[in-house]
């Protein structure tokens, strides 16, 4: 009798793997020069300070070495990356005005449908520019602003605020790809939630990178004022090519006193993507940031949403899942800086690696001398689905305050044979048993996701069990 062997299949990414024609698009030359950077700024008709900022960032980019601690980015040749690709349309506030092929793409991704059913507002970016941005009247009547960041930059009312905050949490000197972002950023959303305002339905921005060999560098800036509340959802995907695509976005979140922001992301880039994204939140007194983060796509991923807790009793929680399949090296995790008394942080992550994929959980918890009474717990579990894959856990802690409680727990292992046997002894097939266990493993994260994304994740971790081998 043939020995039965079951496999958990790779994520089925065909759902996202469709390409549109680039006909009629404006694509700037590949590579990275002051001329290209100046040209991007000129087309956007930006204030002078922004052009200066871009050129300064480019200098910083050129002076920084590649990171030596993470996955190799040798395959990323900036001379082959088009940093700016403008779709053949301007931004619309109705889907009818979006060109058909682009609209169809977002239809297939389910964005307009989600907008109709439960979102308070949607922004959709295609390559380097936003093609759609709209928010319900109820939200705008509350004084909430949700627009393209470039659009906001052209409004005197917001320009000063943007100039005050832009790339202050993530300065170009932070790392090489923050500098790159500063030089060539394009598109992204601006959200302003006035003090005391609570939005019951989420806002969502979706980033689609269609152009082969292009980079996407959107900038998301969210300001949640004191006592305000917001749930923001971010989705990303791209079709697969055989050349490197680059995503180096930046997300800067300012959470005021007693304010609350939940930031949910599913990154589902294609396997040729280098995802070198940076996300950071600053939280003031009694405020709270909640990160929900799913990382599935990319050839190489570096992603560590960071919380800087500057106000007394500020809180952060990070819930993340990373699934690395064949050919992927996903280095993900989180950073927390606790810089005020009685701050709280929790981190809970799940990692799955399969088919030769590599997933690394990397974290840092830094407790400054000012953070007396800080408490943090980190829990990290990794599941190995076969013996060809790899899973590393590199959690760093630097504690300099008294009266703190910092706990860290991590485990790595595979699906226990005893668990499979137990389920099988109750009449469940091996395939079902394994699927059940993997689903159970991912569930604490899945249940935190918005419904649509939870369903998407279930599709993503679609467990196709295969038949007999040998």
């Amino acid at each position: 009798m043939a020995k039965q062997r079951t496999e958990v299949a790779d994520i089925d990414r065909s759902l996202y793997d469709f390409k549109d024609s680039e006909e009629g698009f404006e694509r700037l030359a590949e590579g990275l020069t002051p001329e290209i950077v100046t040209e991007i700024s000129r087309r956007k008709d930006e204030p002078d300070w922004m052009l200066e900022f871009r050129l300064k960032s480019l200098e910083i980019y050129n002076s920084f070495p590649d990171p030596t601690w993470g996955p190799s980015i040798a395959g990323l040749d900036m001379d082959h990356i088009a940093t700016y690709v403008k779709p053949n349309t301007d931004q619309s506030a109705t889907w009818e005005d979006v060109p058909d092929d682009i609209k169809n793409t977002f239809e297939r991704l389910g964005i307009p449908e989600a907008e109709r059913s439960y979102l308070a507002g949607v922004g959709a970016q295609y390559d380097s520019e936003l093609v759609y941005h709209n928010m319900q009247d109820t939200a705008s009547k509350m004084g909430i602003v949700y627009s393209g960041i470039e659009e906001a930059l052209h409004e005197p009312r917001w320009e000063a605020l943007i100039r005050e905050k832009f790339m202050t949490l993530i300065p170009p000197t932070d790392h090489k790809f923050a500098a790159l972002h500063g030089a060539v950023w394009s598109g992204g959303s601006f959200v302003y939630v006035p003090a005391g305002t609570k939005l019951d339905f989420p806002l969502q921005s979706y980033f689609r990178l269609n152009a082969k060999g292009a980079g996407q560098f959107e900038h998301t800036l969210i300001i949640v004022e004191d006592d305000a509340d917001l749930h923001f959802i971010e989705g990303c995907s791209a079709p697969k090519y055989n050349v490197a695509n680059l995503h180096a976005g930046a997300v800067e979140l300012f959470v005021g006193k007693r304010a609350h922001l939940r930031y949910s992301t599913i990154e589902n880039w294609s396997k040729n993507m280098y995802n070198l994204n940076t996300k950071r939140a600053r939280v003031e007194e009694d405020g709270e940031i909640e990160w929900i983060s799913g990382s599935f796509g990319s050839h190489v991923g570096y992603l560590y949403p960071m919380s800087v807790l500057t106000g007394r009793r500020a809180r952060s929680s990070f819930t993340g899942i990373t699934f690395a399949g064949a050919g992927q090296n996903l280095d993900t995790g989180t950073k927390v800086v606790m810089a005020a008394p009685d701050t709280r942080a929790t981190v809970e992550t799940k990692g799955i690696s399969k088919g030769g994929g590599i997933q690394t959980f990397r974290s840092s918890i830094v407790v400054t001398p000012a953070a007396e009474g800080a408490q943090a717990t980190v829990s990290c579990q990794s599941l190995m689905l076969d013996d060809e894959s790899r899973s590393d856990t590199i959690p760093a802690m630097d504690v300099r305050a008294k009266n703190v409680d910092i706990g860290h727990e991590a485990t790595i292992g595979r699906i226990g044979d005893d668990k499979v046997f137990y389920l099988m002894s109750r009449g469940i097939s091996e395939e079902e048993a394994r699927a059940m266990i993997v689903n159970g493993f991912a569930n604490p994260v899945a249940k935190e996701l918005p419904l649509e994304y939870a369903v998407e994740m279930n599709n993503l971790i679609k467990l196709e069990m295969e038949g007999a081998i040998g």
């Binding site: 030596t68 040749d77 280095d331 001398p369 590393d392 504690v399 595979r414």
Partner: protein
């Protein structure tokens, strides 16, 4: 001798963000140290007589390992990636086979070492190559010790510091199959030290080959003075079923470095590392532990328990590496730190690297302080907060004295206690145990 800095000492195998300044240590060797000080090796004559070169023992094991190695080529994606140097774009920007992952540097090194299977080349010590070279230079010809098959023996090594002097010992140990060796290393500044505030350096470089089913028990006591630099560098290779038990008791010394790397090369090898540390004043402690599980059903436990007082600093880099092929292995790492005062800097990075599915890796760290309910309990019995803090310190000393393997180690703890907790009578505690 001139001042010297050993860069990239005690480095983590898998580094993380540079801004955390935890990836490695820079060892500053004070200027003007004369090579002097006392090194005593107290062991039965047979241990010297039966010594065999460490390299020979490793080479013999290599032959056995190679003979047992299967011919089947391993075609895993990560090995292919290491062979081709990872993902690169060709002239057209084409990335080639996207099912081959891009590796980080340490992952590439891990794949290369796995493909080579060369024990000698993969040999490492916790503090790394440069620190090892320095210690070997300082110590001169290594002292070689060897046990006899089936026998048990004990050796005590003392390195005593002296003001403005550097002293070190280099030890090569080969434990014969089925033998047992107890090795005690005392790194210490005695009453004859001279000016206690003067710079000094003491160190030990240890290489151990633990033969099949042997048991090697190493205890290192570090009770040096607050201006002394201490380097303790250890590297182990374990053959089938060998069992290594290490106790590091680091209680005194201005800047101390403790490095340990263990290669659990063969099936059933086991390493238990138990570390107890204390730092007071402006002292700093640096620990770098790497355990590589290569054989099947290998086991490791790294347990560290420390108290940090004053404005002391500590870094613990612990890495459990579950190398491909170490099926059925289990690695555990656990640290408990008590921060007893303000101004302490405590860094910990408990890493697990895992390239195998049929394994279990666990780590945990608890960093805490005297909790309010504990403090209230102690205060309700008349113990002031200052006395409570001192109690944690003296409890460490007391435990170290009670479990000291030699009279010399016990005396060293007593001297240290006299210096940092003068009110505490360690002899009393000791008698109590005896009574």
């Amino acid at each position: 001798m001139d001042a010297l800095t050993i860069r990239n000492a005690s480095a983590m195998p898998a580094p993380t963000w540079g801004w955390l300044k935890m990836n490695n240590a820079e060892v500053a060797i004070p200027a003007g140290l004369a090579p002097a000080g006392a090194v005593d090796v107290d062991a039965p004559q047979e241990l010297f007589d039966n010594a065999r070169p460490f390299e020979v023992a490793v080479a013999e094991m290599q032959e056995r390992v190679d003979a047992a190695r299967g011919e089947a080529a391993d075609d895993r994606a990560c090995l292919r990636a290491a062979k081709t140097g990872g993902t690169h774009a060709d002239a057209d920007g084409d990335l080639g086979d996207l099912d081959v992952p891009a590796l980080s540097r340490y992952q590439e090194r891990a794949c290369r070492e796995e493909a080579e299977g060369d024990i000698a080349r993969a040999f490492e010590t916790g503090m790394g190559h440069d620190a090892r070279s320095y210690l070997n230079f300082l110590a001169g010809e290594p002292v070689a010790l060897g046990t006899t098959e089936g026998e048990r023996a004990r050796a005590v090594v003392r390195v005593e510091g002296e003001e403005r002097a550097a002293a070190a010992v280099a030890l090569d140990v080969v434990a014969a199959p089925d033998s047992e060796l107890d090795l005690v290393i005392e790194l210490d500044g005695t009453d004859d030290f001279g000016d206690a505030d003067a710079a000094a350096l003491i160190g030990s470089e240890l290489r151990v080959f633990a033969g099949a089913r042997s048991r090697v028990n190493v205890t290192v006591y570090v009770c040096a003075l607050p201006a002394t630099v201490v380097l303790d560098d250890e590297g182990y290779v374990l053959d089938e079923g060998a069992r290594l038990t290490v106790r590091h008791v680091v209680l005194g010394g201005g800047t101390t470095y403790t490095g340990l790397a263990a290669d659990l090369r063969a099936d059933g090898a086991r390493a238990d590392i138990d570390t107890s540390y204390l730092a007071t004043g402006t002292e700093s402690r640096d620990f770098a532990y790497t355990v590589r599980h290569r054989g099947r059903k290998t086991v490791s436990n790294i347990l560290a328990n420390g108290v940090l007082a004053g404005t002391s600093k500590k870094v613990l880099r612990g890495t459990i590496d579950l190398v491909h092929g170490c099926k059925g292995s289990e690695g555990t790492e656990r640290e408990t730190v008590l921060i007893a005062s303000e101004g302490v800097d405590n860094k910990t990075v408990p890493t697990i690297l895992c390239d195998e599915d049929d394994v279990a890796g666990n780590h945990g760290a608890t960093i805490g302080h005297v909790r309010p309910d504990q403090l209230f309990y102690m205060r309700s019995r008349g113990v002031s907060p200052e006395a409570a803090e001192a109690l944690f310190l003296t409890a460490k000393l007391e435990d170290a004295a009670l479990t000291a393997p030699t009279e010399g180690a016990r005396a060293a703890v007593a001297r240290l206690a006299e210096r940092i907790a003068p009110d505490f009578d360690i002899d009393e505690a000791d008698e109590e145990e005896a009574a």
